[in-house]
Amino acid sequence: MRLTRLTYRSVIFLAYLVMLLPVVLLVVTSFFKDAIITFPPSGLSLDWYENAVQREEFLTGFIVSFKVAALATVIGVPLGMAAALALTRSSIRGKQAITTFLLGPIIVPGIVAGTALYLTFLMAQNQLDMDIVGTLPGLVAAHILLTIPWTVRVATAGLQGLDQSVEEAAANLGARPWTVFIRVTLPMMRPAIVAASMFSFIQSFENLELTLLLVGPGMSTLPIAMLNYLEFQIDPTLAAVATIQIVVIAAMMLITDRYVKLSRIV
């Protein structure tokens, strides 16, 4: 009995170790003094953080990524929620086909979707005589292709568990359809909306493959700025940037968790 419990605990411990070790190492190395990572380090410093904050490409990258992720979430989540609601509630034909279609952008490899978008944008640019590649609207449009499928995927599961008789109860008590939606359906969808928004934001914020061909001068996202930096240097600046990212995302999750328990929706 005691042995099996011990084995069980060791397996859990090992699983966490494997998952968290790279993250821990990353955070630790960001404080190392040496430009080439050596162990043990010759000393500790915050120089790499200073470098990360001072280099313009990271700051711009962070701001662009944040803007793109926020806009793509604000536009994509309501659209995805509406689709998820229709897919779980109505009796339209070909639901399975529509679901697959909506999930398409995250099923297709990112680099393939990115190339397809790049070519489409180029053609549209010629037709419309305006810039799309390398602009904020272009990036947002591309990232909506990430936020819609993630919303559909996260929200469909959440909405299936939603008791429809609660909405019927509201109608029975005298509420008209629009009032039912605003006063009952929407509040009950809140956990699904929060979960979908968070996933969408993070997916957009950290996306590399889909975005690779669509960035332009002064309009590059953080992951791409990091990739570019890595081509020429391997000092711990990237570890510092990544640590800042981890802190920002962890803070977002903690704040979200105060309003909607994440353990209930993921």
Binding site: S165, E168, A169, A170, A171, N172, L173, G174, M188
Partner: protein, 347 residues
């Protein structure tokens, strides 16, 4: 005066018939139960009254006004859902006040009325809790209060006791019936539990396969079942197939059963309630073999084979001196009952 009338109501889903030619009439203060096995159309009927399902034909009138085509929010019915369907993001008081808010009742009056309704179901001390913080029984009382507060024309109950444990069920049963009678609520209740229907209702409507098999008071259905289905569904009954020969009912293997003279010659089923039969070791009556004995505490249930027919007998558990106390499975026994307590049915 409040009333609910259904006239030749039908509901078809494509070829499938959910409810066919349903007519009934409920008067002020009456509680009528729709009773039947699952899939018999009772819930569809309830949902048609509430307005969630539109009848294919026929009409529904509440207080004499035709509501057949009206949306749920245009009818003054209060439906208590089987799952209670409380609004999870609102407190108990907000739940109860919701209907009044929809009716544009001012805040002060709303709060006063909600409090009154909650007091009626002894939940006023939990007004500020959220539904998930309440027990199943308390949630149901909150759902009742949410309906009561509107003084509805028709009160609708969907399987009100099915989500409660056995002990609470009896308590809630009398509580609902008490409220219904003291407030003279005109009520339509749906249940598959015959005991629930028998004890709570003024009138019962027994449904099967979308149609009404029999309606009447509990006594009507129990004492004078119209057919073998009713006899078997309401209370328990031994239903034995056979036919009349020379004025005597004979089972399929020829055993003759006590028969009142002048019985219908078309009779195909012989029914007798388990509690009407006396079982003895060696007295008068039909001969049989004891196949099973179930001790239920105050009562004992015997299963006796009479020819090919299996007959249930329920008696008070015999004391230690009683001859029946020493009966073993396989023993020969005699069954006797008054021919008048049996009923012969044509179908």
């Amino acid at each position: 005066m409040k009333s609910l009338e259904l006239e030749n109501v039908c509901k078809k889903y494509g070829e499938a018939v959910a409810v066919t030619d349903m007519s009934m009439h409920i008067l002020t203060g009456e509680l009528v139960s729709l009773l039947g096995p699952s899939g018999c159309g009772k819930t569809t009927t309830l949902r048609m009254v509430a307005g969630f399902v539109e009848p294919s034909s026929g009409s529904i009138r509440i207080n004499g006004r035709d509501v057949t085509k009206l949306a749920p929010y245009e009818r003054n019915t209060a439906l208590v859902f089987q799952s209670y369907a409380l609004f999870p993001h609102m407190t108990v008081a907000q739940n109860v006040g919701f209907g009044l808010e929809m009716r544009k009742v001012g805040k002060a009056e709303r709060e006063e009325k909600s409090f009154e309704a909650l007091k009626r179901v002894r939940l006023d001390h939990l007004a500020d809790r959220y539904p998930r913080q309440l027990s199943g029984g308390q949630q149901q009382r909150a759902a009742l209060a949410r309906g009561l507060v509107l003084n509805p024309d028709i009160f609708l109950l969907d399987e009100p006791l099915s989500n409660l444990d056995a002990k609470l069920r009896g308590e809630v049963r009398s509580e609902i019936r008490g409220l219904q009678q003291s407030l003279e609520l005109t009520t339509l209740m749906v249940t598959h539990d015959q005991e629930e229907a028998l004890t709570m209702s003024d009138k019962l409507v027994l449904m099967e396969a979308g149609g009404v098999r029999q309606s009447g008071t509990a006594q009507d259905l129990y004492e004078q079942p119209a057919d073998a289905f009713v006899a078997d569904f309401v209370g328990r009954s031994n239903v034995i197939p056979g036919r009349i020969e020379d004025g005597q009912f004979r089972t399929e293997d020829g055993t003759s059963m006590p028969t009142v003279s002048g019985s219908s010659v078309d009779a195909r089923y012989y029914t007798v309630r388990p509690e009407k039969i006396t079982l003895s070791r060696d007295g008068d009556g039909v001969m049989g073999t004891l196949r099973e004995r179930l001790y239920l505490g105050a009562q004992t249930e015997y299963t006796v084979m009479v020819g090919n027919a299996s007959i249930s007998v329920v008696t008070a558990t015999p004391g230690p001196d009683d001859m029946r106390a020493s009966l073993r499975v396989g023993d020969a026994v005699r069954l006797a009952w008054d021919a008048a307590s049996a009923r012969l049915l044509n179908n």
